[in-house]
């Protein structure tokens, strides 16, 4: 190969790298905007969500959908895998949620509709997504929830006690067709805290390979539960950073905070 040919090839590679880098940054912007859209107006209390991808973009996701009767439908999810492929499937899951939330009566029905919509694509792609869907009704003060393979939220009572949530176990979206998702409910009181999360939080590791763990998160939330939603998000992120000593993490970190 002549040096001129080498130069041309190197130049072409640099140009492809730059285009790719630009596209990744644009994709990151799209994902950020989709995740950080308008927060719903609540009759009382406050809600907030935050996602910190481990790479430029990630496969975690959360969303809020205000229903006409004043309820808010909340979803948090974690798509299998990482980076751009996971982000593409996350957008698919988001579309399925938005469409299902519109015409389904409760979290259980939303998950069934989402699984029906996503199953063929996810099966074909060898992927899946775990999600937790919940309806918050500020009038009846009831939280109704169903899980598709996802951890239940942590609830800290205004009395600083951790609530023991009834289970609601369904399998991941994309795992099996024609699934139903059992749902449970819990009546909340003023100043209770509901913390939805993805496993990137409890599995965050420090340099000694110790995991952050659920117990540490629960203790922190009990301490911080009287603070405002955005403060609680910041406190959790700061504590994870302190624990991991800024070490790059393998998984995305996502949370939704509902303060009643």
């Amino acid at each position: 190969m002549t040096s001129r040919q080498e130069l041309t090839q190197n130049g072409a590679a640099t140009s492809v790298d730059k285009t790719l880098e630009r596209e990744i940054q644009l994709a990151k912007k799209i994902q950020y905007k989709l995740l950080n859209g308008k927060k719903p107006t609540m009759l009382s209390g406050e809600i907030s969500g935050l996602s910190v991808p481990a790479r430029n973009i990630g496969g975690d996701y959360f969303d809020f959908y205000p229903l006409q009767d004043g309820r808010i439908r909340i979803i948090i999810g974690d798509v299998m895998g990482k980076g751009i492929p996971a982000a593409m499937l996350m957008i698919l899951a988001r579309g399925a949620f938005r469409s299902a939330a519109e015409h389904t009566a409760n979290p259980s029905e939303t998950l069934t509709a989402m699984n029906n919509a996503l199953y063929d694509d996810f099966r074909q792609l060898g992927s899946f997504v775990t999600v937790l869907c919940a309806d918050w009704d500020p009038i009846s003060m009831k939280l109704t929830y169903a899980s598709a393979g996802h951890s239940l939220p942590i609830i800290v009572r205004a009395t600083k006690e951790l609530a023991d949530l009834p289970t609601a176990k369904g399998i991941m979206l994309g795992g099996l067709s024609k699934q139903t998702y059992p749902q449970s409910e819990m009546v909340l009181a003023k100043e209770d805290l509901v913390f939805f999360y993805t496993d990137g939080i409890v599995e965050a590791q420090n340099s000694g390979k110790d995991a952050y763990r659920l117990e540490r998160l629960q203790r922190l939330l009990v301490e911080a539960s009287s603070r405002q939603a955005a403060d609680i998000e910041r406190i959790v992120v700061d504590d994870i950073h302190a624990f991991t000593e800024g070490m790059a993490q393998k998984d995305d970190i996502t949370m939704v905070v509902l303060k009643v």
């Binding site: 974690d78 798509v79 299998m80 895998g81 990482k82 099966r123 060898g126 992927s127 899946f128 775990t130 899980s147 598709a148 393979g149 996802h150 951890s151 176990k169 369904g170 399998i171 991941m172 795992g175 099996l176 067709s177 393998k250 998984d251």
Partner: protein, 110 residues
Amino acid sequence: VLSLTVSNDIQNERTYIRIQGVLDISTIDTFKEQTLQTYEQLGSHGTLVVDYSGLEFIDSTGIGAILEIIYASKEYGFSVSFEGISEEIAEIFETIGVMRVLEAIIGNDA
């Protein structure tokens, strides 16, 4: 780091895949390559036993690969069983629904 040991118990028509180490996005290609070879050897006979006793960490990509073994059993016609699952891994499988997928596929209900 991932190390897989594949061994055969011909008399009982069982093939063992013993997972040692980390099953995540960094080791998944090796895992898939080796499991695919095992499916082809097994064909429609016998049982594939996945032994998790040496598994140190699994992420969602690793769980996806375990699900692929379950789906492959239906496609190829062999049976699957799990051994050596720690309490921690059992909890992850239970939350995500891995065991229910296994029951549904092995029971031909999927």
